[in-house]
Symmetry: C2
Subunit: 322 residues, 2 copies
Amino acid sequence: MAVYTDISEDELQRFLARYDLGRLLSYKGIAEGVENSNFSLHLDTGPAFLTLFEKRVDANDLPFFVGLMSHLASRGINCPQPVARRDGEVIGELAGRPAIIVTFLEGMWPRRPTANHCRQVGEALARLHLAGEDFPLTRRNALTVGDWRPLFERASDRADTVEPGLKAEIEGDLAVLERDWPAGLPLGVIHADLFPDNVFFLGDELSGLIDFYFACTDILVYDVAICINAWCFERDFSFNLTKGIALLEGYQSVRPLSADEQSALPLLARGAALRFLLTRLYDWLNTPDGAVVTKKDPREYLRRLRFHRQIASAAEYGCTPA
Amino acid sequence: MAVYTDISEDELQRFLARYDLGRLLSYKGIAEGVENSNFSLHLDTGPAFLTLFEKRVDANDLPFFVGLMSHLASRGINCPQPVARRDGEVIGELAGRPAIIVTFLEGMWPRRPTANHCRQVGEALARLHLAGEDFPLTRRNALTVGDWRPLFERASDRADTVEPGLKAEIEGDLAVLERDWPAGLPLGVIHADLFPDNVFFLGDELSGLIDFYFACTDILVYDVAICINAWCFERDFSFNLTKGIALLEGYQSVRPLSADEQSALPLLARGAALRFLLTRLYDWLNTPDGAVVTKKDPREYLRRLRFHRQIASAAEYGCTPA
């Protein structure tokens, strides 16, 4: 949870003056999101959502992110839609930071995901992949296999303070993943961070996807591997096969996975676990204790990583063979 | 800024089932308020505001707080109005904490108060005092003169780590305030925490008062003294006489201060500065570094305290003599 930047009404009013959104009635900082500062706005035209991009986001990536959200929305994906100013621009500046307004998406993210949630997330992810097919921009995944070793090197010295033996264990996985990372699988737009707090539901129905600020161009089924990590493990770190089946059936009901994609899934899931282990490890070791963010325990992803190492085929995740 | 308690949709839905508020569309934790956990709710009947009372608030005080907000709203004061459940109760329980829903108050609090803001706050404070006259409940101020010494004793050992000589300086003020604290001035309901972040404006007009969780029965003009501290000093700690005049003219246009109230004002303002100095000092010394709250510098109130010590009459704050 975080609001890194507070804003005054004066600067917000000046920012809003370039939009056709009517009168500002209130704005409140939202205690969610760890990368950016988010505000819920009430305007007399209705609610809206304001995001200020903090320095971890590269301003050069913003046209990709906002273009993607507009593109996906135009293809029927329920996601926040960037609101254009009267001059046609969608990216402005507020409090010295790039800032955008998007439509307010109603819905609640599931604190305790069920198999029903997993099935719908699988379907929505596949629809997102199809809707992204004709999106013209590309963005390199800044956190894919080749980026993990440099990240690890900035944390490896102190890795064993988090768990004895962690440094050697990660080195073993890194070597395998770098050697065996698949080439030739279908690429496209992936969300790359579709965790439960980025998926909204109204009642039992998925109502939208948010937070496209890790989205990039990468192996489509890697996005499935991320979702398996994010949605199909219990709080005791055990894999829930029912949820795996639901997520993969949901996905394949819209976009069936090829035999090649399926056979790559265990290694991709292992890579996804390592990716989140590494960023969490880095943050764990480098976030000052006084910071206004909740540090996430990297060991949750170590447990997942160890699980994926033992998996021989996608069927063990609940995947119906191609 | 703080949300101490996250809540799941399930428990929120169970809580809301006892109200006639329609379907829940979204809820978001608000990064404001340092005592409680606050959520902005969107319901198909409109927006609402949910507060969970954390342990610093005594549950026995809640009937006073919610009764007061209902009373003031019925007397035309624009403040959050507690929403009753179908069974007539206004205080429920959520996530193991007492919880209430209040109407959502639109408006923005001024990050940079002007004399116009000060005048309207003065008027609103006086109206609040008049509207509270026939409120039947009372609540002892838990942070008045007799409570300061016990609070100070829990922080005095380390006071000089914040500023050398602070312990002796506070002891001097405490002795004077305990000896000279006035008796016999008009009592009534006071807000006791009417800082800029608790006063909303829409455009140039005051649109409402919030956060009645320090409200109590005490000397009315002490509330004016608190507002002088909260509204009339600049960021360089200098007193702004124009703002003092505006605040006091605003107040007296609705409720003129008697000669006795005016002559007590310098001592009460000094007491108010000490009250905020002491709670900030205590929090400064006792808030763990990892806590998700912004610690407020106690020295801001030491500067005010020193200023008030030099004041001989209410006229120096800009008060028109009675």
